[in-house]
Amino acid sequence: MSLYGKIKFWSFLVIGIICIVAGGYLYPYGPDKRPWAEFLLLIGVGQLLIFAVLFFLRYRKRNKEAANA
């Protein structure tokens, strides 16, 4: 995987965590902040799901390559 690819791959995890922590932080601040909190949580979950899928695909590919070799 290229350097750019690696950065993009791990950024899904990092951004996902940051968005979830920020969303969790905003959540107790009342109803006017709630839409922003939920928006951040939604982005965070999305990023983490993309990361999980890519992670799964990456290691499945690696395992296949190892089995073929």
């Binding site: 996902g16 965590i17 979830i20 922590v21 920020a22 969303g23 969790g24 932080y25 905003l26 959540y27 107790p28 601040y29 009342g30 109803p31 939920e38 949580l41 939604l42 965070g44 979950v45 983490l48 799901l49």
Partner: protein
């Protein structure tokens, strides 16, 4: 002879009057010298800049108590709780001023190096507690605050780099009742708002304490499908966010 007495008696009277008068002056002078507290730390800039985070430094002044009425008062408050005067190292008593509260804290070391008497004072009311500080194994130190009936109300552990962990807040009726009294004396009008606020639970940061804020947030979260999903995908991060935002929670907290 009578004349002699008549001359000497007023003289003796005048001498005695001056003698005791001088003694009184000396007493007042000496008590004036002893009464002053000595400032051992002061950072005036902290008085203006109040950090919103509880773990930042809020102490802007520390005084070493002199032998004065103030020291007598805190001694009396301590003795009322069944402590012995000989157990307390009164000469080392210190007074702490905070920039985020009007509560004054006094600390009095004791003969036991692992125990320090802590008194919180506000509006003439005292809360007497005993701080226990000692080794907890693994190079850690444990710190706990107990009311005088030996019931915990706060404890934490410090590692060798003085990082805090295992923070525990206990249900303690004495502390709760002290807080309620002070709160009702300070914010009588606002406390009426608080009941309506907590009834509607608009903002969890307005709950009475950090643990209540966390309870409120978690309950709120259970009512939201998205929050539940996030809790499944990344529970640690979510709770870390909740915990951070609940720091500083209280009836008058910003929302």
């Amino acid at each position: 002879m009578k004349r002699m007495y008549l001359v000497f008696l007023p003289l003796v009277g005048v001498i005695l009057f001056f003698f005791f008068g001088c003694n009184k002056d000396e007493e007042i002078q000496s008590s004036g010298n002893e009464s002053s507290n000595a400032v051992i730390y002061e950072d005036a800039s902290l008085k203006e800049q109040v950090s919103p985070y509880f773990y930042d430094n809020h102490i802007y002044r520390i005084e070493l108590l002199g032998a004065n009425l103030e020291r007598e008062r805190i001694l009396r408050a301590a003795l009322d709780q069944g402590l012995e005067e000989a157990f307390l190292l009164l000469e080392e008593a210190q007074k702490f001023f905070f920039n985020h509260t009007d509560v004054i804290m006094y600390s009095i070391p004791t003969l036991d190096p692992e125990q320090t008497l802590i008194l919180y004072e506000t509006m003439g009311l005292y809360q007497v507690s005993m701080a226990h500080f000692g080794p907890a194994g693994g190079g850690n130190m444990s710190f706990s605050l107990k009311t005088m009936d030996d019931r915990d109300y706060f404890s934490l552990k410090l590692d060798d780099q003085m990082r805090m962990g295992e923070l525990k807040v206990y249900e303690n009726e004495e502390i709760k009742s002290f807080n309620r009294t002070i709160y009702s004396l300070t914010y009588t009008e606002e406390s009426q708002d608080v009941t309506t606020k907590s009834a509607t639970a608009d903002c969890c940061r307005n709950e009475s304490s950090w643990s209540d804020c966390m309870d409120c947030t978690v309950n709120d979260c259970q009512g939201s499908w998205l929050c539940k999903i996030v809790g499944i995908v990344a529970p640690v991060e979510l709770v870390a966010g909740f915990a951070a935002s609940c720091i500083g929670a209280g009836p008058d907290a910003r929302c």
